[in-house]
Symmetry: none
Subunit: 421 residues, 2 copies
């Protein structure tokens, strides 16, 4: 049972303590006390991970080798249909002012109903050569599929993770396809803006002084270049190259399932051939039904050897810079995982994909804590009795990187390969 609290790691926010240190987490502390602890620099010190590369590497897939761009993962995860040759981009609804300055990268985090309605208004826009299919997924998030014989993944991100002037997409190689795709994409962005800015919902929001949901920013252009992604082996394109993904079950001999709210995490799981379990009420937000997710993950262990349980809102609070919300949500997760501690014959791992310090409102390279807990006699008890970024660093696992986590787990369950005799 791999429980990941997205963006959990933080920096001191009050009295020299991080949100995880401030939170009351009796269940996680119990795992720490009877488990073995360590600190993980996900991809090595000084590398900041995205959520996509974070999960690939945490699951033992070197993202430098296996990462295919965020768009495809987001599409797979949100159930958007993708065909060979399709270009997929992750999108944010955002707010721009009259001079094409991004003023809010998430347009004040519109609710699903609002964003879905606006998504429909820009769902199908075609030009002579390019078809654009936009799908809203969750909150301010969406996926854009570009379908065209001329489409190329070699186009730059419009979302530069900052507010300020719109950074229009540029071709990043000298090919005709890249040039045409960047131009067509920028045209689409302008057209979508024309539609969104006059939409009744935005007039209503303006009256309520809410940020208008009037623009889309894109990132992670990636193309499905070969074969169906979920039959046998999965294929994807990154910068024109195709990458063959070895399914999780083939790679480790472990049948695996994923319980997550957010599209991206489901996408990564599908990308690796895991079974993705949809849970009612799993939103990827603060309001997610944690009890339902935990129950579903526990049930999934009956038919699976490995369950990846993902919780998102810790990262959301970090991006919002709201340490109180982060602390509170950590405590909520801690309460919800109580049933996991009663599971028989199960190794429980709690960790994170990266830090999202509230002070930065962004991912950082700070390491994250990890605890591995198991039935009596399976893991060493290392004297650490609290689960947080600092205490974990005194644990028996020492300092790890993500690529070592799966091998360590395989070692604990006696499935690590032997070299020598």
């Amino acid at each position: 049972m791999l429980l990941v609290l997205d963006g959990l790691g933080d920096r001191p926010v009050k009295r020299g303590k991080t949100p995880l240190q401030l939170a009351k987490t009796p269940n996680m502390d119990k795992l720490a006390k009877y488990g073995t602890n360590g600190i993980t620099y996900p991809l090595g010190p000084g590398v900041v991970l995205g959520s996509d590369t974070g999960y690939l590497s945490l699951l033992g897939y070197d993202p430098y080798q296996f990462y295919a761009g965020r768009g495809i993962l987001e599409a797979l995860g949100s159930g958007v249909k993708v065909y060979e040759g399709d270009l997929a981009l992750r999108c944010n609804f955002c707010t721009i002012d009259g001079k094409f300055n991004v003023t809010d990268r998430r347009a004040g985090r519109p609710d699903d109903k609002t964003a879905s309605e606006l998504g429909k208004a820009i769902a199908n826009i075609s030009t002579k050569e390019f078809s654009f299919i936009f799908s809203h997924t969750k909150g301010h998030r969406g996926v854009l599929i570009i379908r065209s014989k001329s489409a190329s993944p070699m186009v730059s991100d419009v979302d530069n993770h900052n507010v300020g002037p719109v950074t229009w997409s540029k071709p990043i190689d000298p090919s005709d396809g890249a040039k045409k795709t960047a131009e067509a994409l920028n045209d689409w962005l302008r057209k979508a803006h024309q539609i969104l800015k006059v939409h009744p919902i935005n007039k209503e929001r303006a009256k309520k002084k809410l940020p208008e949901v009037n623009f889309v920013i894109t990132r992670g252009a990636s193309m499905l270049v070969e074969g169906a992604p979920l039959k046998g082996a999965t294929y994807s394109g990154m910068y024109g190259k195709s990458v063959k993904i070895q399914r999780f079950e083939e790679r480790y001999g472990l049948k695996a399932a994923c319980v997550a709210g957010g599209a991206l995490y489901k996408g990564v799981a599908k990308y690796l051939g895991m079974d993705v379990i949809d849970v009612k009420g799993a939103t990827g937000g603060f309001d997610t039904d944690l009890n339902a997710k935990v129950a579903s993950a526990a049930r999934a262990l009956k038919d699976n050897d490995f369950v990846f349980l993902h919780v998102k809102a810790t990262d959301v609070a970090g991006h919002d810079g709201d340490w109180q919300a982060k602390t509170k949500f950590i405590e909520k997760v801690d309460k919800a995982i109580a049933p996991l501690l009663k599971l028989k014959d199960t190794i429980i791992v709690v960790t994170s994909d990266h830090s999202t310090p509230c002070a930065l409102k962004a991912h950082s390279a700070d390491p994250v804590p990890i605890v591995i807990w198991g039935p009596e006699g399976t893991v060493r008890i290392d004297g650490v009795n609290k689960f947080d970024e600092v205490t974990a660093s005194h644990g028996g696992l020492g300092r790890l990187s993500n690529k070592e986590v799966m091998p360590i787990l395989l070692g604990i369950i006696g499935k690590a390969p032997m070299y020598g005799t």
Copy 2:
């Protein structure tokens, strides 16, 4: 003085503690208290090492580069004569039932006298093309030399580390040599069985309800392909390729000797060009004369810069799943090493090659503790005051891998290379 307790690392066996944590080890604890401590993932997290690869890597030789297969190491260590073109295999005497099912991989651990007598009965068996020379070494262990122009090392292991149906040797490349060698080896195994099963010793054992020593299982086929292994450089063959070994003394500028009971450890030492000192009463078992080994190792320091002192029974207890025996033997070793603490001008290192948890009865990927102790002023004192898997992880060396151990030791004695000026 490098003291290695084979298979020392373990998992909690009682009250959440490992055998090493449970054992009373005042001498090792003194080394920890006045030394510098750490935790070693021998070849990295999640890699399980054999004894052969474990020692090569601990002595600073990357086994992926220098490992030549267990057979040659076992032959060198046991003093069996090996010539160019000889194929050497490590053997276990074992017990099979009437349907060629292995029921005990070590035939109830026969004593040396029993096994040696039975070894003589199958010492020389020849066919038209192949000569088989079997030599008993210690306990249930032996070495088989296959001498033939047709011999190939490309044959699979008969010993699969499990009980159950005999897994007969198969060629692992399409060559004629591999095919012929596998066939000849399987024939020899059957012939040896015919001889062993009717041997008076086995009739006697059957009466006493002891497991019959009636079959041989082989592993680690490896061939000496070029030159004498101990003159200047050593050569060996792994899967048909020749590997050049740099002698320990050339590599590090340290004249080295080895004190060990088991053949394999002596073999690794000879393979690296170390002086191997035979000690009367060194058996590689629980009954080994530890005082004699320690005295011999201490004496060896007079003519050598580096002494590798190997103790085996910790690993044996792990394989047997007997944590009480492991704990007791650790305490016995601790008592025996008292004279080492009085040595002048000597760095003492205590560590292990890998973990052999009693709960698994097999090698595991769990890390092992290491302590480096020296005369006042040579190593930092890190506040760790007990030698065990958990406390060591809090030490000043942090987390290591085997390839870092020799460089650290060279650094301590001022022999590490300088890069820059």
